[in-house]
Symmetry: C2
Subunit: 347 residues, 2 copies
């Protein structure tokens, strides 16, 4: 049996290697880099093939495929969302992703994306806030202190210059975990007993809770003039975090409207509820924050282009960092029409 | 750093291990087993989540995701189709696939599927012919002698009792390769100089050509009464093999009409062109072949449920055969909310 050619192997970034990659670069630098990569891809947004993610729902969660392509490279992510997993000691969200060459359809990279999704979600939030939050914002309330919380805190520090994080979670143990993890990172961290206390003095409010239900993490009277809300947790049908009165009052920015209208906070609103696509703010074709007293809301659900940017970033780092295994995933007969012969010769 | 738990690992079947698995069981037995698995899943067809595959088209090919779920297990396949790849020495079709637990969203299996797709496509064709072809058929014309050809020949031998295969390809080298690979397998193999010659005496005609264009591999006058046509090659928009007059005359059977109307031979016909879903024939709610003189046509494009059946078959074999590597693909912190802590402790 001949050895497979180089084409037969797909570079694979394992969880262990993804962690090594993050530490080789530094987690805050990764946030800065990812925010820049995602912003660059949002700037060329019209170029991409876009589709709402392909979701398979069950009573306990959802499994989604999120494909996109820029015409040269194709990418997709597999991701689940199972809030009940936590009780079993499992992650709510796990993910992996792939890049492929559009010209041949051959995979270029397979990568863990549980960690990478956490990084890109936080980097996207911080990138959006750079465009939408009040200038000079220093304090962020962080409501929901689960798996995504520290990533949000560090991204806002690295990308937006936030210096104080005010934590609140219905489970004090989650806030304690988050505060312990953030100790020594250079942020002032304040643990709070209520959402009301957490938002005191905060120019940015991030909600990142995990329950799959219509929840009201923020009511209208909690949101003062001039605040930027980064709503991360409402990301599937039946799962929202904000009272709809906030949406009526805020300027709402979204990733991909056909997906956000199904999954985001605006699923509570009329199908024609006015929103601005974030990419247009970045491209200069739509206004972001118009006045200091505006309430801006990034109704984030996560879009395939962000995963594409993150996977391309990882692939770009492999040349210098290594950190990939080679997976024998693609059958590669010497004569491409002789797949059967290859199989028989392996006997 | 603690070692990841068992949940962090996903069994991965490489190309090398898939070949070992096929040889451990025997290729004809695999065809018989897969046909039975696919037939069993077709019998419970209404249970499955079904969607047309999610395709990303370019000038040179297509990349597709094919998801489905039976409510307990979720599966999807990544597959490309790039007819121009052959000129570069690459496969036209490469694929891999995944199974996951619907209850948790955690992957259960990652597998190469270039070889497995070739096996399941042939097994599906033979299973359909078992229901649709004339009883006692012994001779099959095989037009298009590329990567899928030998798999079709062996599946029809193993599942339908075909004893003679009549080969034709516009490239005689492809037929020579196919004939050489089939030597000694127990089939009488006849190489022919034209499609007309290949179909002489054939009760079953299989077309499995690869060009991405509207082609006419069979014209109406070539198809005699009582024949079963297994049309495998027409499987994406703009790619067909049969003259439309054949479709008008034949009883047409399909996998999933919303997908076949876009991708199959019937893309040439009116959107209301009558077809029968193959699963209904198997379940006993629709007629298959009605008379000896009927022309039956299985307009096969490949559907996600066939991949699901094949992946479940492979997963079921791993317990006894091994043949999987363990991929560190799922981040698995001790505390599911402490993904960031896991990342930091890895430093």
């Amino acid at each position: 049996m001949m050895s497979p050619s180089k084409q037969a192997y797909v570079p694979f970034v394992s969880v262990a290697n993804m962690m090594k990659l993050v530490h080789a670069i530094g987690v805050e630098q990764v946030m800065i880099d990812l925010a820049a990569e995602i912003e660059a891809d949002f700037r060329r947004w019209p170029l991409f093939d876009k589709t709402p993610r392909v979701a398979s729902h069950s009573d306990v969660g959802v499994i989604e495929l999120m494909p996109t392509s820029d015409g040269e490279t194709y990418g997709f992510k597999y991701v689940n969302g199972h809030p009940s997993n936590m009780k079993r000691g499992l992650q709510t969200v796990t993910a992996f992703g792939l890049l492929a060459d559009v010209a041949t359809g051959y995979p270029l990279l397979l990568s863990e994306m549980t960690i990478l999704t956490a990084l890109r979600t936080a980097a996207t939030s911080a990138m959006a806030a750079k465009w939408l939050a009040p200038k000079g914002a220093k304090t962020m309330a962080l409501i929901g202190n689960g798996a995504q919380a520290e990533f949000q805190a560090l991204a806002f520090k690295a990308v937006c210059g936030i210096s104080e994080i005010r934590l609140y979670d219905i489970d004090p143990a989650a806030s304690a975990k988050c505060a312990a993890n953030l100790a020594g990172c250079g942020l002032k961290v304040v643990s709070c007993d209520s959402a009301e206390q957490a938002i005191l003095g905060a120019e940015i409010i991030t909600t990142v809770t995990a329950d799959k239900q219509y929840a009201t993490i923020l009511t209208d009277n909690m949101v003062g003039a001039g605040v930027h809300i980064n709503a991360v947790g409402g990301d599937c049908p039946g799962k929202t975090e904000l009272h709809k009165d906030i949406l009526t009052r805020a300027s709402v920015f979204v990733e991909y409207p056909p997906q956000t209208r199904i999954e985001g906070e605006i699923q509570q609103m009329d199908p024609n509820f006015p929103v601005t696509e974030l990419w247009q703010v970045i491209a200069g074709t739509a206004a972001g924050r118009r006045a200091a007293r505006d309430v801006t809301l990034f109704d984030s659900v996560g879009f395939a282009i962000e995963d594409f940017s993150a996977l391309r970033y990882v692939l770009g780092k492999l040349a210098s960092l290594g950190l990939a295994d080679q997976l024998d995933m693609i059958a590669d007969p010497d004569d491409p029409r002789d797949l059967f012969g290859m199989l028989m010769r392996a006997a």
